[in-house]
């Protein structure tokens, strides 16, 4: 049993496209301090350390030695792939399969486009090598590893001067022996090269997906390990010697050392933080089932949280066109990975998304975005095309003189002119009606995103609390709830930086898996026990290496199952009993049938069931910071009222149109106060729009609970 951590402070740093957000939590009081600095794309580590220094400077009483750990979310891996700046990497595979990466899945990313391109492999063909060896599907050796040929390939590899090498031999998920021997031979000759073995990264069948995952890991390892080393160095020079943890794509954190070796697990580090923040806050407040909705300047992200856990997927591609669930060819424009990623749908609808009229006379919004430069028309920074922010402004939802804490003054006339020219006139609508249309169309896409993560996965959105945050989220989320039929919405305190807080409320999670591929009626139960024990032993080892994980490791066991003959597995949590016996197996199989019925609408009780992968997640609990209650405020809610202004609302009832609406100052709202929509709630970096027929309750922690009265 490890000692419990007693240090007081934790730091989270989230590097986004424009800003780097820092958060410091005092575990003893729950007090949160935030910092914001500009992101420094050329050297992200310098923005990182400025954010940390700012945090330490603001609260002079923080002794760096009292910092328990620093958690970091970064897009450094994804950016390297998108920008084509990955390390020089070689690929080693079984004889006959050198072109595995070139051929990929042999499909086109778009059906009717004759000018399409296949994504260029991350490893050029001359750096792909073959080794004479072969296993069969059971892992038996068909052709022994040719040691002489291996020695020649190793010499050739040494001449290429690559920084990293990915090894993926056929059927290595069954038997890693050949891959390990190849790895050892390379290590002996080229000790400094970064090696990634497919049998270690993702020991699962389907060679291209495994190879693609391994190659991505390999190609970003040098960049990520250098980057994390430089962050550690900068932390040390600021006297912060505590452990550095990194947010993984699955919402857990892992030590920087593991991240340096297996960076493919953190490619979606950034977006995962928001989902984790929503999950954690939801659980703490007694809402284990949440749909999180995080909307920023260019995109909106939705994800589903059940029983306090974000949904996790392994059908994912990086570096391609926008991901939208598992549409047939969703990933063919990018590079697939088979590591667990928080199942989120990201769409091109943010405050900066541009509205336009297409050649058939339909009003469209996005996916083009004005971003921060030139930004919406109303910013007056050179933007010419109307955006969602401009439409919100015209509809009275934003206060032109109180935007970004009064730092930007918005030009309503310019916004009106742009909407008139680009949308209202071509469609024969009034400016207000066009602005309303822009919002409603963007909302449709967002409602669709909410449906993709809920209904399409077999969950009724009405059973969930919708949580809206991010700079633009609170302006839209209540209307989205209305359209999706979700009765309850939660707007967290400080919604603009809520996702950075996600970094400090997650556990150390380490995934491991073993492939079985055997029918449930043929497996020896002792084998399941044995494999899980093996996974637990390595999990225990990893747990003891993570300084921040306290107490005994907690193991989450699941088995990926399918009907014998299918190819897509459903992950079924194993029955919660120590002994694996026949009853245990029967319960497991029944849980699978049920899960299949709920996902696809049928169960086939007479069909054999197959166990594909055993999955073990080793969880090292990190104590959560306590939620901090608002100070008791004696004053009446009237004190929070800033005034009234006309606001245009769209509703499904007859109460739409322009309504005179009360505007509240969020920072002055007393706990447990209530008020009714229509209402606008303003705070320095965010505006919340409350639809008519919805009412608001401020909870003890300053969150807004918004409910539909109808």
């Amino acid at each position: 049993m490890k000692e419990l951590n007693t240090k007081r402070f934790r730091i989270g740093v989230d590097i986004g496209g424009t800003f780097t957000d820092g958060t410091l939590v005092d575990s003893s009081t729950g007090q949160v301090i935030t910092s914001k600095v500009l992101t420094t794309p050329a050297d992200p580590a310098s923005g990182f350390i400025s954010a940390v220094n700012k945090l330490l400077g603001v609260s002079n009483d923080v002794d760096p030695s009292e910092i328990e750990h620093v958690v970091h979310a970064t897009t450094v891996a994804t950016n390297a792939i998108i920008e084509g700046k990955t390390a020089k990497t070689a690929f080693v595979t079984t004889q006959g399969f050198r072109d595995m990466l070139e051929i990929a899945r042999q499909i086109r990313p778009s059906l009717y486009d004759l000018q399409f391109e296949k994504p260029a492999p991350l490893v050029p063909r001359q750096l792909c090598f073959e080794i004479r060896e072969r296993l069969d599907a059971k892992g038996n050796v068909v052709t022994p590893l040719d040691e002489k040929a291996l020695a020649i390939v190793v010499d050739q590899l040494a001449e290429t001067e690559v920084e990293a090498i990915a090894i993926c031999l056929l059927h290595s998920y069954r038997n890693p022996d050949h891959e390990q021997k190849v790895g050892e031979a390379i290590k002996a000759k080229i000790p400094d090269v970064k090696l990634s073995l497919s049998s270690k990264i993702v020991p699962e069948f389907r060679e291209y997906l495994r190879a693609s995952t391994t190659v991505i890991n390999s190609a970003v390892t040098p960049i990520v390990s250098t980057y994390l080393a430089s962050i550690l160095e900068k932390l040390h020079s600021a006297d912060v010697n505590s452990e550095l943890l990194v947010m993984q794509s699955n919402g857990g954190v892992y030590p920087a050392q593991s991240a340096s070796e297996s960076p493919v697990f953190m490619v979606e580090s950034g977006p995962a933080a928001g989902a984790v923040a929503a999950a954690s806050l939801g659980s703490a407040l007694g809402y284990p089932n949440v749909i999180s909705f995080d909307m920023g300047g260019t995109t909106a992200k939705a994800s589903l949280i059940r029983n306090g856990q974000p949904n996790i997927t392994k059908d994912y591609s990086v570096g391609g066109a926008a991901q939208s669930g598992d549409g047939a060819f969703g990933g063919a424009s990018g590079y697939p990975i088979r590591t667990p990623v928080v199942d989120l749908v990201e769409i091109g609808a943010g405050g900066g998304s541009i509205a336009w009229v297409d050649s058939g006379g339909a009003l469209r919004v996005g996916p083009q975005s004005a971003g921060a430069d030139p930004g919406p028309v109303s910013y007056g920074l050179g933007g010419k095309e109307p955006t969602i922010t401009d439409a919100n402004l015209i509809l009275g939802r934003l206060d032109p003189s109180y935007f970004a804490d009064g730092q930007i003054s918005l030009d309503t006339e310019a916004a009106k002119n742009a909407i008139h020219k680009h949308c209202a006139e071509p469609l024969g609508l009034s400016i207000e009606a066009a602005a309303h249309g822009i919002i409603e169309i963007a909302n449709t896409a967002m409602v669709n995103a909410l449906r993709l993560v809920s209904v399409q996965r077999g969950h009724d959105p009405r059973d969930f609390m919708l949580m809206g945050f991010g700079g633009a989220g609170p302006a839209h989320v209540v209307r989205l709830a209305e359209q999706a039929g979700i009765p309850q919405v939660l707007i967290p305190a400080e919604p603009g930086t809520a996702s950075a807080l996600g970094l400090l409320v997650t556990d150390v999670r380490m995934e491991s898996s073993a492939t079985l591929i055997i029918r449930a009626d043929q497996v020896e139960l002792s084998r399941i026990t044995y494999e899980f024990e093996k996974l637990e032993n390595s999990g225990r080892l990893a747990h003891s290496a993570a300084a921040s994980a306290s107490g005994e490791p907690i193991f989450e066991r699941a088995i990926e199952m399918r009907y014998w003959g299918q190819s897509f597995e459903l992950s079924v949590p194993v029955p919660d009993r120590k002994t694996i016996d026949n009853d245990w197996m029967n319960d497991l199989i029944e849980a699978f049938h049920e899960s299949h019925d709920s996902a696809y609408g049928f169960r086939a009780d007479d069909e054999p069931v197959e166990l594909v992968n055993l999955r073990l997640t080793t969880v090292g609990k990190i104590a959560r910071p306590q939620l901090r209650k608002l100070d008791t405020i004696d004053h009446d809610i009237q004190v929070a009222i800033k005034g009234e202004r006309p606001v245009y609302f769209a509703t499904d009832s007859s109460q739409g149109g322009v309504i005179s609406t009360t505007v509240y100052n969020r920072q002055k709202l007393p706990p447990r106060s209530t008020f009714n929509g229509p209402a606008i709630v303003e705070e320095p970096d965010c505006t919340t729009v409350i639809q008519p027929s919805w009412s608001v309750t401020v909870d003890d922690f300053g969150n807004l609970i918004v409910e539909n009265n109808q």
């Binding site: 042999q106 050029p124 060679e207 997906l209 058939g360 169309i441 897509f568």
Partner: protein, 588 residues
């Protein structure tokens, strides 16, 4: 509020909401089908399609999977509903059909579809089509050279597979009795039913929300919108008459290549595809049904248009064609049709070549333009179970005006994935001993065609029946505007085994393999675009560096000299050589 003006007004916002919801329905159907299916061909290779039709059987929305299927649906659903009688369909019923002469394609493509109701009122139909790995007939995987439809498998005229939500076990048993791979096929049928159930459920939700009157109004608005845009797009195609001809190398039985001809007339907002001059249908498996040929025309036209144009009745109504009954592009009973897709995809290639002079920037040079189908069957000696595998392989894509044709990729209406080697080997006692690009197989050009692909199937311990249904064994895909042809296809028994005789197989055959035999399936490279002598020498160098072409080919086909030592283009020598080749060509 009851005035007609108000009632008939189309709200642009409702329009967009309903439009995306309709597509979403079919995407959800596709997800359910794919994830619950059993055969590698459906679950991994995605050889299936899903669509929604209105109550008049007009296509409204579809999931983007396989355009070849989607185009043929347009003919199949109305024909089948008429044949069975709309009045005979109850809520919860589903029909199963594959009749090639009743709007279908080859027998493997089996459609399950059913009506969707809202409060007992018919809203429309949801349909899912899957290429079944076996439907009986003369060879495993039901592909091969036959002379009558009856040898190709079970012919299913529309019958009820599902009766008011319950599987019609009598029909299901009779169907499965005709089929080799019973367990897998049964699983795929269940997946099709699941997809339709999901689609039907979601559609009724949408109608419940908007009311059936508004739903109809907006569905019509979506079609009108597509119609307007389609007409505008056709107007953008230069008016004129576009002609081309092509041929299929081998029909499976005779020495006579199959002649294909087209004349396309574009006049303002109208386009008309005429196939006068195509060969009469044959007693050989190369006959395309009317629905299949229609699907080639639809694909060709759609590919010339904006990427975001919806594909529904508003588009399809503009696809007008004349394919004479009794020809290879409109086969009649009892012609064999299993290789009709080979003809269909070659027609597609021909249509792009026809359009080339008018739209050189939109088209691609010739691609593999064959389905490249490989199948095999093995009987498990222990259990007696008959296992079948089917897949279709990628080839080189045609070069474009400003870019090379991608290597080893699917083409035209076909976009099926490859079957992962590890998945195939875990299902069957086969060993895929090689999967690679074929070096030097590209059609040279200013922009080159893509490389072809090689996949070798080795059967270490078992006898197997292997079928090839493909083409291009006489000539590779042609280049365009001075581009050269890609390498032709090869089908070779025991290509590199010193102890066994190497034999070249035909593009349409069924062979019995002995334990230890290997079949090598080698697809063609794509055709080039523009003269190879105009290719940027740096691009030639890049291909040499990547090992995609060799030094000799760089010199002989592209006139580019690469210095062996520095690995750089020898610019002066290249210029001289190119001038010399140009001179000798013009003197000829």
């Amino acid at each position: 509020m009851a005035g007609d003006k108000v009632r008939n007004k189309i709200d642009p916002i409702h329009f967009e909401v309903i439009r995306s919801a309709l597509t979403q329905v079919t995407e959800e159907m596709a997800a359910a089908l794919r994830r619950s299916a059993y055969s590698t061909n459906v679950k991994t290779r995605q050889d299936f399609s899903c669509a929604f039709f209105d109550r008049d059987c007009k296509p409204i929305s579809q999931a983007f999977t396989q355009p070849v299927h989607l185009g043929s649906f347009v003919e199949l659903i109305p024909t089948s509903v008429e044949a069975y009688g709309a009045e005979n369909l109850q809520p919860g019923d589903m029909l199963v059909v594959n009749n090639p002469f009743g709007g279908g394609s080859h027998l493997n493509d089996v459609t399950v579809f059913g009506p969707v109701h809202h409060q007992n009122e018919l809203i429309g139909y949801v349909a899912s089509l899957a290429h079944h790995v076996d439907v009986g007939g003369g060879a495993p995987a039901s592909i091969g050279p036959f002379q009558e439809i009856f040898q190709e498998g079970v012919i299913i005229t529309p019958v009820k597979l599902v009766k008011q939500g319950e599987m019609n076990e009598d029909i299901f048993k009779l169907l499965l009795a005709q089929i080799r791979s019973k367990r897998v096929t049964a699983g795929d049928f269940r997946a099709q039913v699941a997809a339709n159930t999901v689609g039907s459920r979601r559609l009724s939700e949408i109608v419940r929300k908007y009311g059936s009157e508004d739903f109809d109004r907006y569905v019509k608005a979506v079609i009108d919108y597509t119609d307007r845009r389609t007409r505008a797009e056709i107007s953008d195609i230069p008016d004129g008459i576009y002609k081309s001809e092509s041929f299929l190398d081998f029909d499976g039985f005779t020495e006579n290549p199959v002649t294909l001809k087209t004349k396309i007339t574009v006049d303002g907002e109208k386009v008309y595809f005429d196939f006068d001059g195509c060969d009469p249908q044959r007693r050989a498996p190369v006959n395309s049904t009317k629905a299949m040929t229609f699907s080639a025309c639809a694909y060709a036209l759609r590919a010339l248009m904006a990427p975001d144009l919806p594909v529904n009745d508003g588009f399809y109504r503009h696809v007008r064609m004349n394919a004479k009954p009794g020809t290879v592009v409109h086969a009649l009973h009892p012609a064999p049709v299993v290789g009709g897709w080979e003809t269909q995809v070659r027609v597609n290639d021909m249509l792009f070549r026809a359009f080339a002079p008018g739209m050189p920037q939109k088209i691609a040079s010739s691609t593999k333009a064959m389905m490249a189908q490989a199948g095999f069957g093995i009987i498990d000696q222990k259990t007696g179970e008959y296992h079948c595998n089917y897949e279709a392989l990628a080839g080189g894509y045609g070069a474009r005006e400003t870019s090379d044709g991608p290597d080893a990729v699917q083409q035209h209406g076909q976009n099926t994935e490859n079957a992962p080697v590890e998945e195939v080997e875990s299902h069957f006692p086969v060993r895929v001993s090689q999967l690679s690009l074929i070096e030097d197989s590209e059609g040279p050009g200013k922009f080159r065609g893509g490389l072809g692909m090689r996949r070798d199937y080795h059967f270490p311990n078992d006898a197997a029946t292997f079928t090839v249904l493909s083409d291009r064994d006489l000539e590779g895909p042609k280049g365009i505007f001075g581009g050269m042809s890609g390498r032709k296809a090869y089908y070779i028994l025991n290509p590199d085994d010193s102890k066994r005789t190497k034999t070249e197989l035909s593009s349409k055959c069924v062979i019995e393999l002995k334990p230890g035999d290997t079949v090598s399936f080698q697809t063609p490279g794509g055709g080039g675009y523009g003269s190879p002598l105009e290719r940027d020498p740096e691009r030639v160098l890049e291909d040499v560096t990547l090992g995609k072409i060799n030094f000799k080919r760089a010199r002989e086909c592209y006139g580019v000299i690469i210095d062996n030592l520095t690995n750089d283009v020898d610019k002066a020598a290249t210029k001289r050589l190119r001038e010399q080749i140009n001179k000798s060509r013009s003197s000829h």
